[in-house]
């Protein structure tokens, strides 16, 4: 096993209990959720409920029924964007969105005729909340922002943007793909109406899990229709939650694993996780600056970002650096545009891409030391 520094893509390793809980579920229970009266089906129902409850506790929310399970943050964002926006609606978003938001918005712009305002940001990725307020118009139906950039790590002023949205009664959708589990999130205090999260990154669960927390009374048209386990003679999707937005059999073993990931986080504490990653970031910044010819992008301030650092080495392509780190040193990082071309436009790397390290709770300072040593060797 080498050194894993790609936690912004997916977290690794997972807590042992995450793996055991999924194996135990598949061996000992194995029943679907919401569709049976036998004992193991009821156990399955209870496990799903407990994970929904764990999510409400983690995000300081209060309505268990309004936690929807999806495959990942991308699906959650699609559920929200396509379920809320109609022809003629105006949307405000940031300049550094992941394609999970950006492609979805561009598709809606082309296919149903929404309009998009992209709020400018600094080269470090900071958005001034007043720019959001300036962009609001009569047709503004939604504001959607990532909580932290997956390229620069920059945290957005979510609470302030949420306050503006509340003032104008515009729903506020937050993409927490990079922050859920590693940075404190309070849905109510941060004025978040819709929170899209993935299970396999900071929440330490398996891939194929994610969700949407709905702190909003407006209607979300379901993008999927199908069986929900109850009310079967009714020919349309039910209007009650979570069933309205959950059709078909849920990924119960995955969700059970996600539940254990959340339990692990709650046991350790989100603040402790955040501070450990912050310490590693500070250490990494200091070490990276020792490397000749390195360009580090973004704020380079551990107070203002989550565990993501993008960089390039002079006269070397990011792909070459990532390849050599992997093949010669067993160090796993990500290279390229990271599915966020607009963020690379901001830092001027749209044609070259960047190397990106994603720090996780299970990384240690020695992992950074190995990386620095390897980068110095590649640089020679």
């Amino acid at each position: 096993m080498g050194i894993y520094l790609d936690n912004a893509a997916t977290s690794y390793p997972k807590p042992q209990k995450v793996i055991e809980s999924m194996t135990n579920f598949m061996m000992d229970i194995g029943a679907t959720y919401g569709r049976g009266a036998y004992e193991t089906a009821i156990q399955s129902d209870m496990l799903i409920y407990q994970v929904r409850k764990g999510i409400t506790d983690l995000f300081h929310f209060n309505d268990v029924k309004k936690v929807i399970f999806t495959l990942n943050a991308t699906e959650s964002l699609n559920v929200a964007l396509k379920g809320i926006l109609n022809k003629g609606d105006h949307v405000i978003t940031s300049s550094i969105e992941h394609n999970a938001v950006w492609r979805c918005l561009k598709t809606l712009e082309r296919d149903i005729g929404i309009t998009i305002s992209v709020v400018p940001c600094s080269k470090e990725g900071f958005t001034n909340p007043f720019e959001v307020e300036n962009a609001i118009c009569e047709d503004t139906a939604l504001v959607v922002f990532n909580h932290a950039s997956n390229v620069l790590g920059t945290l957005q002023p979510i609470k302030e943007i949420g306050e503006i949205c509340r003032k104008y009664k515009i729903p506020f959708l937050v993409d927490a793909a990079q922050t859920a589990g590693v940075y404190p999130i309070d849905v109510i205090d941060n004025n978040i109406n819709l929170l899209a999260f993935t299970g396999h990154k900071g929440l330490l669960g398996p891939m194929g899990t994610g969700g949407l927390v709905i702190n909003w009374k407006g209607d979300i048209k379901p993008i999927k229709s199908g069986g929900t386990g109850g009310d079967s003679t009714y020919e349309y999707q039910p209007d009650y939650y979570p069933n309205r937005l959950e059709s078909g059999t849920l990924n119960v073993p995955g969700i059970v694993g996600l539940g254990e990931g959340i339990k692990y986080i709650q046991k350790v504490g989100v603040n402790k996780i955040y501070h450990k990653e912050k310490e590693l970031l500070e250490y990494a910044f200091n070490q990276l600056h020792e490397i000749e010819g390195i360009t580090v992008y973004g704020p380079q301030d551990s107070e203002k970002i989550i565990g993501v650092i993008s960089f390039n080495l002079k006269d070397k392509s990011c792909d070459e650096v990532a390849y050599k780190l992997g093949r010669q040193f067993g160090i796993m990082i990500r290279a390229g545009l990271h599915c966020a071309p607009t963020a690379h436009e901001i830092i001027g790397t749209k044609t070259t891409g960047t190397c990106r390290i994603g720090i996780g709770y299970f990384n240690e300072k020695k992992d950074i030391d190995f990386l620095i040593e390897a980068l110095q060797k590649i640089n020679k």
Partner: protein, 172 residues
């Protein structure tokens, strides 16, 4: 903690009418000693001390507690069932903690009549609830077919005191 768990043992899914979903759950201990205290605190409860059985409404839901089990009808889905288990568990534990300051009630309370409900309604027969008279509204309110929120008149300021009284009677 007095009551550790409320575990669902039966749930009826996939029914034709979502309002008719129901479930049964088992308490992790016998709670018969706490039933008279619940009866004292839940003003709309119907309690039979001999059979150790207590029933009350919460909105459209009909909740029945015995010494060993909880039965709830008219829930909308599984999440609703487990939320209800949590609610009942917390309710029982709260009542247990406060039992020294509660006077237990062993008698069966007189069930509120349609007239008891009607006297707090606006009596304007405004029909905004969809019923032709306030009496008709009261008769459906008492069995949980309608909700107090559907009476728009009572929510107007001049009826504020009556709304509070009605909510107390209906435990909502």
């Amino acid at each position: 903690m007095y009551l550790e768990e409320v575990n669902v043992i039966f749930i009826e899914p996939c029914t034709a009418d979502a309002n008719k979903m129901r479930f049964k759950a088992a308490f992790s201990r016998n709670i018969s000693e706490i039933l008279p205290y619940l009866n004292a605190e839940i003003k709309i409860a119907q309690y039979n001390h001999r059979t150790e059985n207590l029933t009350f409404n919460q909105g459209i839901k009909i909740i029945t507690l015995s010494s060993e089990t909880l039965s709830v009808s008219k829930i909308i889905n599984e999440t609703d069932a487990y939320e209800m288990c949590d609610y009942i568990k917390n309710l029982i534990n709260d009542i247990y903690k406060k039992r020294d300051v509660i006077v237990p009630l062993f008698e069966m309370r007189k069930k509120p009549s349609v007239l008891d409900i009607y006297k707090y309604l606006p009596k304007t027969n405004c029909k905004r609830c969809g019923e032709s008279t306030c009496v008709a509204f009261a008769s459906k309110l008492i069995v949980g077919e309608l909700q107090v929120q559907q009476c728009r008149s009572i929510h107007e300021n001049k009826h504020d005191g009556k709304l509070d009284e009605l909510k107390k009677i209906l435990n909502c």
